[in-house]
């Protein structure tokens, strides 16, 4: 399987101008790669920079130096230097991301929240909606909730909508930030199954998970983030 993600000497430091310019080194010299069909789990204590690394691969946090390359239509694109439009098009076609919390948009129904990314990649709306419905079903979101905006859903329900949204398109790269954190055992197993299906389809997965059983079930390789912790 080809290399889908490759980080080379990637570095991130926050400079807090409102706190007298104090510099907070997050990670440095981050080097690892992920192949298609492989799931890499980032490990390390809270605050070690796991989420920051995922956000850098998604282009949400800027990378101060080094390279973050992802494979898009057969060529490697460096997110550290890509412009805004390139990053938007990578997110549309290549990189899926399931954040810890669903950012709800007022008045948009759950089913549409899930359908949207698939439509954006060119899937016909009816087919995208069907796929969205199948995912919501598997994730045990009752049909009566589909037409409601998720703002009023419980935390676990919102997270499952978020997972469905991340899994609906055929992105070859999938970034998962604690996707199972507030789920019960049955739903955790559904997510494990979904990740397994993505791997079999050749998707490169990078995940942060705290449940040992989930990690055991999905990880092909563990990357210890403390090795990249910046010695301040």
């Amino acid at each position: 399987m080809p290399t889908m993600i490759e980080l080379t000497s990637a570095e991130k430091t926050f400079t807090m101008h409102l706190q007298h310019g104090v510099r907070l080194p997050v990670v440095s010299n981050v080097n690892f790669s992920v192949n298609g069909g492989e799931c890499v789990v980032l490990s390390g204590p809270s605050g070690a920079g796991k989420s920051s690394i995922l956000k850098m691969i998604f282009g949400n946090y800027r990378c101060d130096s080094g390279k973050i390359e992802v494979c898009s239509r057969g060529t490697m694109v460096d997110l550290a230097t890509a412009d805004a439009r390139d990053i938007l098009s990578l997110r549309r076609d290549t990189i899926g991301y399931v954040s810890q919390f669903l950012r709800v948009v007022p008045r948009v129904a759950a089913i549409d929240v899930v359908t949207e990314p698939a439509v954006a990649t060119g899937t016909p709306r009816s087919e995208a909606r069907e796929r969205a419905g199948m995912l919501l079903q598997r994730l045990n979101i009752p049909t009566r909730l589909w037409s409601l905006p998720p703002a009023t859903f419980s935390g676990g329900e919102q997270q499952r909508v978020n997972i469905a949204r991340g899994f609906v398109s055929g992105h070859p790269i999938l970034l998962l930030d604690e996707p199972t954190a507030s789920l019960d055992r049955a739903n955790r197993e559904v997510v494990v199954d979904l990740i397994g299906e993505k791997k079999r389809a050749g998707v490169a997965v990078v995940a942060i998970v705290h449940d040992d059983d989930v990690r055991e079930a999905i990880a092909d390789r563990i990357v210890d983030v403390t090795a990249f912790a910046n010695a301040a």
Binding site: L18, N60, A84, R85, I87, L88, V105, A120
Partner: protein, 266 residues
């Protein structure tokens, strides 16, 4: 977060600003502003009062002439034209058809003494529509799209609430199928619940119609919800710009960090 459905990834720029500057006497309102806007792209310009963002919007929409630099716009024939040297017919085409402009104060963007239907129909008549029945039908459709009860079509906007006036302004602007929409603090002065409804409506219409838009706002939540890219202005200059979520989640400049940290938790 914004849906970028329908956005072509390799189009040519729709609007190009190069080294734009504006002086009012010795006062610098804007300096050295350059950026490129592509079809289907939504750009937010954020900053506090007096940062120059409204002056910039007025230059971009050819309402005031820049002191230096230039703005070019790709006309429907595919040619990029300098806005300063447009002929009268081309200017009219832009103002009446190809552009929309949503004012913060709806009374500036609407004709308050004529009916809602006429407010929408007027833009159509200006581009040559003359069949009364078709104009009225189109106006009705647009009122529905902006969630105004069609039963209110013959009432003047004076009888409308602030949120309805803003939605009527949007209908009036979008009826001619513009490619670029300018918005100046579109939610300013509205109640929070009315704001959310308006933003959601604008967000849906912009992505559905594949419109490009430039939104001036001091409200970072508006920028986050509507825009793909953001430019942060201070003292007439762009101090930081980039992908909206990147700038708001990982702000680099001191002033941007101040703006972001000033948002009240929801």
């Amino acid at each position: 977060m914004v849906d970028i459905e329908g956005q072509s990834s390799d189009g040519q720029p729709l609007l190009v600003a190069e080294n734009l500057g504006k002086m009012y006497g010795r006062i610098v309102a804007c300096r050295n502003i350059s950026f490129v806007l592509y079809p289907g792209e939504v750009l937010a310009i954020v900053g506090e009062s007096g940062s120059g963002k409204s002056t910039l919007l007025q230059m971009l929409s050819a309402q005031i002439a820049p002191t230096s630099g230039l703005v070019s716009y790709r006309m429907r024939d595919g040619m990029l034209r300098d806005l300063n040297v447009l002929g009268e017919a081309e200017r009219r085409f832009l103002f009446r058809t190809d552009w929309g402009y949503v004012h913060q104060d709806a009374t500036q963007g609407l004709r308050m003494a004529v009916s809602a239907g006429a407010n929408v129909g007027e833009r159509l008549m200006a581009v040559g529509w003359n069949h009364y029945g078709r104009i009225r039908e189109t106006a009705e459709t647009w009122l529905q799209r902006v969630e105004i009860d069609v039963g209110r079509i013959d009432d003047t906007p004076r009888t409308y609430s602030g949120g309805m006036r803003q939605r009527l302004q949007i209908a009036r602007n979008l009826v001619t199928g513009p490619r670029l929409l300018f918005m100046d603090e579109p939610t300013g002065g509205l109640d929070v619940s009315v704001q959310a409804r308006l933003l959601d409506l604008v967000r849906g219409l912009v992505s559905e119609l594949g419109l490009a838009a430039i939104v001036v706002t001091h409200d970072l939540a508006v920028a986050r919800l509507l825009s793909h890219r953001v430019m942060v202005m201070k003292g007439g200059r762009v101090i930081e710009s980039g992908l909206t979520d990147q700038v708001l989640d990982d702000p680099h400049e001191a002033y941007t960090q101040l703006l972001v940290s000033s948002i009240l938790p929801t």
